[in-house]
């Protein structure tokens, strides 16, 4: 059963076609990597899937709802309820502690629950750093907090745009392990990456070039 269905989507900025008639589908529970050279439209696509942008043309069906036609208010609701976001630049609220950053996500979603937020930190191995400010955490630790924040509301879909771009080997592995765990729990993952190793961890890789799908590769070696 497909969770995401992108049909003939284009995103045009003036002369430039950031996305050019792209069609993709992602099944429920699938782990997909998106690769491609810089400027190929990866982030543009993630923004559209993440309900932060709308395509110029085409349809985007998320859980059967066409999000390309929704109002921005409705898009905010969908994003809040179904999607967890992880960014390359970590993006934490810099005056809130790790646990508070996670609680912000709960706050907008439903109700803040400090215990649950601490459990999420436990899961990413940062329970004892819960009351540190972002400035007191390393880049890898910040990204792990962001992963914890992305999964706190149990989203159906996790979108990660270059989640390991700024991480060292060790932290990259921790994050990939977390993804694998989430995958086993049934969460759908779409991960943008430049790193073949990160792409190899996924079940399937979609390669974009010049705003088009150049090819799709199924990872034969994928192990659950």
């Amino acid at each position: 059963m497909s969770l995401l269905e992108i049909k003939n989507v284009s995103k045009i900025y003036g002369e430039l076609k950031a996305l050019d008639n792209v069609s993709i589908h992602v099944d429920q529970g699938e782990w997909v990597a998106i690769m491609g050279p810089s400027g190929s439209g990866k982030s543009t696509m993630m923004n559209i899937i993440g309900c932060m942008d709308k395509p110029t043309m085409g349809e985007v069906l998320l859980d059967g709802v066409d999000i390309s036609k929704e109002s921005s208010k409705k898009l905010t609701e969908i994003r809040r309820d179904k999607i967890g976001l992880i960014f390359q630049q970590f993006h934490m609220v810099n005056y809130l502690t790790a646990v508070e950053n996670i609680m912000v996500s709960q706050y907008y979603h439903s109700l803040p629950d400090e215990k649950e937020a601490l459990d999420a930190l436990e899961r990413v191995g940062l329970r004892e750093r819960a009351h540190h400010l972002p400035s007191q955490l390393s880049g890898g630790e910040q990204q792990r907090v962001c992963v914890a924040r992305a999964l706190i509301n149990h989203p159906e879909l996790i979108l990660a745009d270059e989640p390991t771009g700024n991480l060292d080997e060790a932290n990259e592995n921790i994050v990939l392990d977390l993804f694998a765990q989430l995958h086993r729990e049934g969460t759908t993952l779409i991960v943008v990456t430049h790193d073949p190793e990160v792409a190899d961890a996924a079940q399937r890789t979609i390669v974009l070039e010049h705003g088009r799908v150049a090819r799709e590769v199924i990872n034969e070696n994928f192990q659950d």
């Binding site: 982030s43 923004n47 993440g50 932060m52 942008d53 208010k73 905010t76 609701e77 994003r79 809040r80 309820d81 976001l85 960014f87 390359q88 630049q89 993006h91 934490m92 609220v93 810099n94 005056y95 809130l96 508070e100 609680m103 912000v104 996500s105 709960q106 706050y107 907008y108 979603h109 109700l111 803040p112 629950d113 400090e114 400010l133 924040r149 745009d161």
Partner: protein, 486 residues
């Protein structure tokens, strides 16, 4: 945890952990609030201060006799009992009588009064020297002192003549034994010298008083005090002959003038007169008509005139909330007695109202300007804050914050600043008002508890209004753009 608790946690974290910017906004609000609270305090306290000041500024009511004659003291006291206890700050009696200074052939209006009360109803009186306290002391109006060349410590003789007090135009030479003669002549540089002589039974000079205070003090002036010089006159008969008297050295012109004035002296005083010699202990300077009188205590004046218990005017200083109340007291007094009427002294009450009116518009104007400046300052700071926090706002939106939650969060931060700034400002403003009050009015003020909520509410409202533009800007931030990696 409830959403509200998290909301407060986020807002306080934002204010406490991102101090610098917020401190500026807080400071602007606090300064605005300080001035607001200070001015409002002064504004509400000033009428109280002002009426106290104006009460100090002199009598605000006077009691006058109905008709031509004087008021009876007993009648006045009965009337004053009608004014509520405590409202009567001062009551000064005045009795005016013409007294003659025989030696100078001048007469002055003299006021008998109660100097203790004068200090209450006319606190603006400026005295050189002091108020008379003991017997035989007078205070001169400055005009009189200048005219007579009188200085502190000098003496002067005042005479009361019943009925018409003009001196007789007796020709000189009509010497009556036991009479008192007085005369004058021009001395040094045309300044007058005055003499008073008493004759004995043989029409010879028994006593002589010379008033040379208009002469140069260290030359002609000495004729008044030089015993040897003055003693030459005793026992001589008038008119004085050439060689009867030796001129005082260094004071020839004045000595000559004394001889001439004795030779042209007239019988100036009658038998029913009473006179006393007073020493000048104070000179009154007001710049007004008060300078034209000689002041002495009422008992002193009554002893001189031989009649007591009569007053011409009673000046009152009455404490009242407003002019209506004061007028009410005046009406009560007027109706309470047939022989008296009370009226307000208009000058004082009117200036009180005018000053307050001007003060009011000034306070409103300054307050409006200050609030506007505060608003601009807070708005600018919040605008900078939004720019500074673009990424954070974008992130919040990406995490699912709706436009209204962004609005509420910023408004919350703004109002929280307003709350803190308001409390701080109310306290500082009170301190500011206190300093002003102590320095300007010389009295302290009590803290108005109402000031706290009012200032806080105004500050929160101002903070909210100041946040409108920044909030609009915050809501417009696009999460996608922000997250793209700016």
């Amino acid at each position: 945890m409830s959403k509200r608790k998290m909301f407060l946690r986020m807002i306080t974290a934002s204010l406490l952990r991102r101090r610098s910017r917020m401190l500026i906004a807080l400071l602007s609000i606090a300064v605005g609030a300080t001035i607001l609270a200070g001015l409002v305090t002064i504004y509400y306290d000033v009428p109280r201060q002002m009426s106290a000041q104006f009460r100090n500024y002199g009598a605000n009511m006077i009691l006058l006799p109905e008709g031509d004659s004087q008021m009876a003291r007993s009648e006045v006291d009965k009337a004053l009992a009608l004014i509520p206890e405590g409202a009567l700050v001062g009551a000064t009696p005045y009795r005016y009588v013409r007294l003659d200074m025989v030696s100078r052939q001048l007469s002055f209006t003299s006021a008998g009064t109660d100097f203790e009360q004068v200090q209450k109803t006319s606190p603006y009186f400026h005295i050189n020297g002091r108020y008379p306290e003991g017997e035989r002391e007078v205070m001169l109006g400055k005009e009189i002192a200048d005219q007579l060349g009188m200085k502190l410590g000098r003496t002067m003789e005042l005479t009361y003549q019943p009925g018409d007090t003009a001196a007789d135009e007796d020709p000189s030479g009509d010497w009556v034994p036991g009479a008192v003669l007085s005369g004058s002549a021009e001395g040094w540089q045309n300044a007058m010298v005055y003499v008073t002589a008493e004759l004995d039974g043989d029409a010879k000079i028994a006593a002589l008083t010379v008033d040379a205070s208009l002469q140069t003090e260290e030359f002609g002036g000495r004729t008044a005090t030089d015993e040897a010089f003055l003693n030459q006159f005793i026992g001589k008969s008038l008119p004085l002959q050439e060689g009867d008297v030796d001129a005082l050295s260094g004071a020839t012109v004045t000595s000559g003038a004394i001889v001439r004035s004795l030779n042209t002296a007239r019988r100036a005083t009658g038998a029913t007169e009473s006179r006393r010699t007073f020493s000048v202990v104070g000179i009154l300077e007001t710049g007004g008509e008060e300078e034209q009188y000689i002041y002495m205590s009422l008992p002193e004046l009554e002893a001189l005139t031989g009649e007591s218990g009569r007053l011409d005017v009673m000046e009152l200083s009455v404490q009242a909330e407003d002019t209506e109340t004061l007028q009410g007291y005046a009406d009560t007094l007027s109706q309470g007695s047939d022989s008296l009427r009370a009226r307000l002294v208009k000058r004082v009450t009117r200036s009180e109202t005018t000053v307050l009116g001007k003060l009011q518009s000034l306070v409103f104007l300054v307050t409006a300007v200050v609030l506007l400046l505060t608003m601009i300052s807070v708005s600018t700071t919040m605008m900078a804050v939004v720019t500074e926090r673009r990424r954070e706002i974008g992130l919040r939106k990406a995490l699912g914050a709706s436009d209204s939650s962004i609005r509420v969060e910023f408004l919350g931060e703004g109002m929280f600043l307003g709350l803190l700034g308001g409390i701080l400002g109310a306290l500082l403003g009170f301190a500011f008002a206190q300093v002003v009050s102590v320095n300007v009015f010389g009295s302290s003020i009590t803290f108005q508890w109402l000031l706290l909520p009012v200032t806080v509410i105004v500050c929160m409202a101002i903070a909210a209004v100041s946040c409108l533009m920044p909030i609009k800007k915050a809501v417009e931030i696009d999460p996608a753009l922000v997250l793209k990696g700016e």
